[in-house]
Amino acid sequence: MEDIILEARHICKYFGALTANDDVSLSVRQGTVHSIIGENGAGKSTLMNIISGIYKPNGGEILVKGKHVVFRNPNDATKCGIGMVHQEFMLFQELTVLENLMMGFETKKLGGFLNKKQAAKDIQEIAEKYGFSIPLDKKVSELPVSLLQQVEIVKVLYKGAEIIILDEPTSVLTPQGIEGLFQAIRYLTKQGKTVILITHKLKEVMEISDYITVLKNGVVTGNLTPDETDEHKLANLMVGRQVLFNTQKHEKKIAEPILEIDNLTAFGSDGTEKVKHVSFSVRKGEILGIAGVAGSGQGELIEAIFGLRNPESGTITYKGENITTTSPRRKREKKIGYVPQDRISTGCNVHANLIENCIMGYHVAHKFKTPWLLGKEEASLFTRSVVENYQVKVQDIHNKIGDLSGGNIQKTIVGREFSQNNDLLIIEDPTRGIDVGAIEFIWQKIIDIAQEGVSVLLVSHELGEVMELSDRILVMYNGEIAANLENTPELDEKTIGLYMLGGKT
């Protein structure tokens, strides 16, 4: 059964001066789960985008079932039986699931009209065969994340995929959801399909893979099977040094509450209730982590606390003062800082230089010497201190922030918020999609600043991050606080996962 179904030979891909893939070769056997691992920026996604026909390689060749293929576009790859489920789902929010699945692959009836009935029948058949159940007539925007992933998998199956590429599929799922996905993957391979899994989570790799390929800086550093290796060795191949995510924690005193949320309710952008009667408090010097499946209301909760979204009811008290409807401006003046989830669209202005980016918020909370004039010197002094203290790699602070890498942008944003003597920091997904070095650095900074007595409200979709950093963990499910747990060594992922799914109350 284990014939080589897909082979990539000497693939090279450059983006300007950047080498994303350098002489990468790979062979995948039919009916197996082949994992491609590497840290962010190692070239995993680039390789997969080449195999699925989205990018064109600068060199090298691809063979499917022993035959040479050249993909001009994703359609060519689809015709060769290659289907990819992207990390950011490639779905149309305004369209129904059925329309999503039909897009680019329409079943027609006489006169060129869409044959929705036939398509629906075909899709149901495939879904049943592989054990998925998806509502075809609902709009995509109404479905939860885990179901969207199933829609994506059914989509590639419907298009006749033999090789299914899953790009970081577990990052949006709960531990239980991951379990379900793995079951589906095993079922698919049993039916003869081949699965290529891209991930950076070593535990999962060891659990599910038949073969493992490790990428580092665009080069293959290892081709192994799980039996020959363990997590430490893999990490070594991935990063090139031992990674010890053991952030330095010290004993500290946690004092009185600084922020109290009482019975807070807020609506989402679609007009539905996203935060339902939530109450909790953050104490001085505490790191309070909020875990939960993406879309459980964390984003809306944070926006409501920071004043970017009007709460429907309830109160927010900060240092004994009611700040429920206070604007972000006033909140910044009261020493509340915020590191937003989306660093490009909210966290910075990519068209502006580092100085303009660093003084945002600072100009409100700290003011310049004169209330009217922008103190150029003061501004560049502050920017320099951020750049130095947070190891931002930039040649000149007059450069545009948009030209920096994701990790450096994130360090700048974290540096800006952390350097303003804030008393409360709201931090959302601080390490999403950045390299390991930057993750380590930012984690240590968070621990350090809490040590100094600053309170931190940390929201992350990476459960590992919340468990690593927090003193206390809240779990959100469907807009409510499902659990409030002390982060003791005994606390395990499975328990939190259950809360995340609303399984335990």
């Binding site: 401006r329 100009h363 909370a365 922008l374």
Partner: protein, 365 residues
């Protein structure tokens, strides 16, 4: 390291200059073709344009006369566009400003040093009041400000005409030429700077406005905020900029300056309000702002060119019978050409060439 950086900057600047130069050249070629198609000589037309714009003191006066409103409406547009607000209602706001200023100039008597500022401020306030409508609708009801201001332009034109009828008690039988507000007092009129032309001290007011706005963007906290709001709205809200207040402020300021432009037109050139007195002055501002890439100082420079084109076009029509609308078409063609994102275009071609090279390589193998 430092030297290389300087070189890089000058290179981008050079590219920018080259871009404008090429656009201008293309516009001239297109202009020559249009003029030829009308059966006239492009060279003669060009000659007439030059004589009409800088050939004599009175020609220079005409140039200045037309450059003045262009600067002011250009600045009104810059303020809005730089913050990402599409206030295309400059024309309408200007009409209201002009009407109010004309009334203030004729109905009240004041000493000269007070009368002119009062007229201008009343004009500005009227323009501001009219700009308040789209601003509040956008803020409270999320009505697209672009379409709203476009509609209001038509309404403003008709409504000021109605106000003139109402104020003067005209009826429909009146001759079109007679429909106007009463003459403004001489205390409300600006001085002429070049005799026997309409070039008035309004030109200095215009330059003053442009410089003040330039300084606002360059040196003040507010200017910083306005720029950030235009470049990334979410970022600005997150950073503590009060967006609603800023939005209203920008819209009102833009409306105020548009109204002032109406005021300078009345106190300067016209002396009384006539319905539909200024076709397209507001749109000139929109065009100039987009050519100047929202830089207030560049607005002055381009407005002077605009004034030359306009002054020259009258002369051209008189001496060569070339229709002066040619100039208007060419002006908008210039806007089109300058709007091209050459950088993106260049990148695109480079990628295409890479792919083609790759294909050739493959075929050789």
């Amino acid at each position: 390291m430092k030297i290389r950086k300087k070189l890089k900057i000058s290179q981008t600047a050079r590219l920018e200059i080259l871009k404008y130069f090429v656009s201008a050249l293309l516009v001239m070629v297109i202009g020559a073709i249009i003029i030829l198609s009308q059966g006239n000589s492009p060279l003669e037309a060009l000659n007439a344009m030059i004589i009409g714009s800088v050939g004599s003191p009175s020609a220079i006066g005409t140039t200045i006369r037309w450059a003045t409103p262009s600067i002011i409406t250009g600045i009104a547009a810059v303020i809005a566009f730089k913050s990402g607000i599409w206030n295309c209602g400059i024309e309408g706001q200007m009409y209201f400003g002009a009407f109010a200023a004309a009334i203030a100039g004729s109905a009240i008597t004041l000493p000269r040093f007070l009368h002119i500022p009062v007229c201008l401020i009343i004009g500005g306030l009227a323009g501001m009041a009219f700009a308040f409508i789209p601003a509040i609708l956008k803020l409270k009801l999320n009505v697209n400000e672009l379409i709203c201001t476009l509609m209001l332009n038509y309404a403003a034109n008709l409504f000021t005409e109605y106000l003139v009828f109402k104020y003067m008690g005209f009826d429909a039988s009146e001759l079109a030429d007679a429909i106007a507000t009463p003459d403004m007092h001489s205390t409300a009129r600006l001085s002429v700077i070049i005799p026997k032309t309409s070039a008035t001290t309004a030109f200095f007011i215009a330059i003053g406005i442009a410089v003040v706005i330039y300084l606002l963007y360059r040196y003040t906290v507010k200017g910083y905020e306005l720029k950030q709001v235009g470049e990334n709205l979410r970022f600005s809200k997150y950073g503590g900029i009060n967006y609603k207040r800023t939005f209203i402020m920008i819209f009102l300021l833009s409306g105020f300056i548009s109204g002032v432009c109406g005021g300078t037109e009345m106190t300067g050139t016209f002396g009384k309000f006539r319905p539909a007195f200024a076709t397209n002055l507001g749109w000139d501002g929109v065009m100039i702002a987009s050519i100047a890439k929202n830089n207030p100082l560049a607005v002055i420079f381009i407005s002077i060119i605009w004034g030359m084109l306009k002054a020259g076009s009258f002369q051209m029509e008189r001496t060569t019978s070339t229709n002066r609308l040619v100039v208007m078409v060419l002006q908008s063609v210039f806007v089109l050409l300058v709007a091209i994102d050459y950088e993106a275009l260049f990148k695109h071609f480079k990628e295409k060439r890479q792919i083609r090279m790759l294909r050739i390589q493959k075929e050789e193998v």
